[in-house]
Amino acid sequence: MSQSSESSAAAQAFFVARAEAVDMLLSLRALFLVITYGALTAVAGGVANWMYIKSQEQLAAAGGEAVRMADVQAEFIKGLSSEGWVTPELGDQLASGQLPVILLFVLKTTSWLLPGLILLVGFNRISGDISTRFTRYVLQRVHRGSYLAGKVVGHWLVSLGAVMVVQAVLLGVAYGYDVFDHELVAKALPRVWLGMALFTLVFVAYTQMCAALFARPFVTLLLGLMLLVACNVATWIAGRFWEPLGKIWVGDWDTRLWMLDPMAVGVFLLYAAIFVALAQVVLRKRDL
């Protein structure tokens, strides 16, 4: 077999993805993601535990009995519903224990920064190749679509892997704490991880779209972060004026995603497809 013989697009994408994942692991990007996301998650978990302990202490000081976690959860969900954070239907699902409040709290607080971390570890994977023109060596052997698919899959596997490692380790650490309802968490975890797979996929695709679009690594990082913030802020403000506008960005759908609500899954899949398609169009049209 000669180098000239064209391997299939899927085989090319697989090879690029594998090389990308290995390269990211060796360059310690995965470790950076594990450490930063791990630190954030640990802080969020610590805060949740602290709040639980404080509430117990306050109740004890007021002469009340120690409150059960299920009661705290019910109160928290009421609060979320009254503030408009979740729909009554979603509130019922939360109340039924589909997503333990402690887990929701940790996921919700860390999900603000996770997209930025995903961007940070992957912003120069394509734009770095373009700016140094290494793509001129690579893309005479691999079709642009396979190259993009490989980059997205490699980045996604590393990001999702890092998130799952952090969550697994911290769940293990949290095993001994009262705040934690192990049975509920164990049941919810597969759903959460499937949701996280989609969550990370959207922001990996977003990162690669920015990289293909802006080509210079620093510009990719800067504008990528600015656009992320702008999307969140703009849809939040728009949602204040007209509710449906607040739901056009994925930021409003993540809670439902972790319960695998079909609508939320559809929204995340749609955004992943849009970002990948845009990246593909830009990369195909781009002079290298």
Partner: protein
């Protein structure tokens, strides 16, 4: 014979600047084709369009009969050494070659064996485990050439392959390129006219984005109807010699160099060039001249200067 590479009325604009203007070229199979021109002539842009790195604004590029989708590299048809593309600094030399070979679908053992052989071909076998960041400019260039040798691609495109190399390495690389051209087509873009003249079988001269001349090296140098006799010392009676040579049948024009140490003869046809050359040499020796050498046609440098007269570069 089917052309290995064809450009059909190709134009490339960068905004309002037209870098390549309606260029049509045909590169014969198994030729060593030189692409030359002054700075800004459009060589690198043409090269980048051939390699699929740039999308032509209009026109068509064919490699081995297959029309390339605009901007899509000739994957599996040709390999190129880009002029200003960097290899990743953090990777090791052999690992980089193996990675690139495997991207093209080569199995690992074959990629390893061929990459090792390619490194030997460019004389870098001792640096296989060195990081790219630790290589000199010339060594990086040679790694760039090595990556085109790993496969069996019948078309290889080398953009300024010897630029920045020391003379010895450049000569060795030239010999390697000549060897490789035996059973494949090589397109070579270069500023080094002596290198192109000594290596290439064909050439195209570009100027301001347009093709001004192309063909075999003999055609370009005009060897069919022109030869120059270089003399060891100046002629004692240049006017007499000029008149005697002009009187020979088949001679169209005779020019004597200002210091009378060379004679340029233009013939009426390409027929009987050898006989006519002998007759001219006889006239010269009869007039006491000592002949140093005879060169058919003009040098590529002369033709280049004529073809690109007035160019800025």
């Amino acid at each position: 014979m089917r052309p290995a590479v064809e450009l059909i009325n190709v134009t490339k604009d960068y905004g309002r600047v037209r870098a390549v203007d309606g260029l049509s070229l045909s590169v014969p199979e198994e030729s060593l084709y030189g692409l030359i021109g002054p700075n800004g002539a459009g060589k690198t842009t043409t090269f980048a369009m051939l390699s699929g790195f740039l999308r032509p604004t209009q026109g068509e590029v064919k490699v081995r009969g297959r029309t390339l989708t605009p901007g899509q590299p000739p994957v599996g048809l040709a390999l190129a050494l880009p002029q200003d593309a960097a290899l990743p600094d953090h990777k090791r030399v052999l690992a980089t070659l193996i990675y690139l070979a495997r991207l093209g679908g080569m199995p690992k053992p074959e990629a390893e064996a061929r990459s090792t052989r390619a490194l030997q071909q460019v004389g870098l076998q001792d640096l296989a485990d060195r990081k790219v960041s630790q290589l000199s400019h010339g060594q990086r260039r040679r790694v760039g050439i090595a990556q085109t040798l790993v496969g069996d691609d019948e078309v290889i495109m080398l953009d300024e392959p010897t630029a920045g190399l020391d003379p010895r390495t450049a000569v060795e690389l030239g010999q390697l390129i000549k060897t490789l051209s035996v059973d494949r087509t090589i397109i070579l873009s270069s500023h080094n006219l002596a290198e192109v003249e000594s290596l290439c079988t064909h050439a195209a001269i570009l100027d301001r984005g347009k093709l001004v001349m192309s063909g075999t090296m003999d055609e370009i140098k005009g060897t069919g109807g022109l030869f120059t006799v270089m003399l060891a010392k100046a002629l004692a009676a240049p006017t007499t010699v000029q008149a005697a040579v002009s009187a020979l049948a088949g001679v169209a024009k005779v020019e004597v160099a200002p210091n009378a140490d060379a004679l340029r003869v233009t013939t009426e046809s390409t027929e009987g060039m050898d006989d006519l050359t002998n007759q001219v040499l006889r006239v010269l020796m009869d007039n006491g001249a000592t002949v140093k050498s005879v060169e058919r046609g003009q040098s590529l440098t002369e033709r280049f200067m004529q073809a690109t007269r007035g160019a800025g570069g």
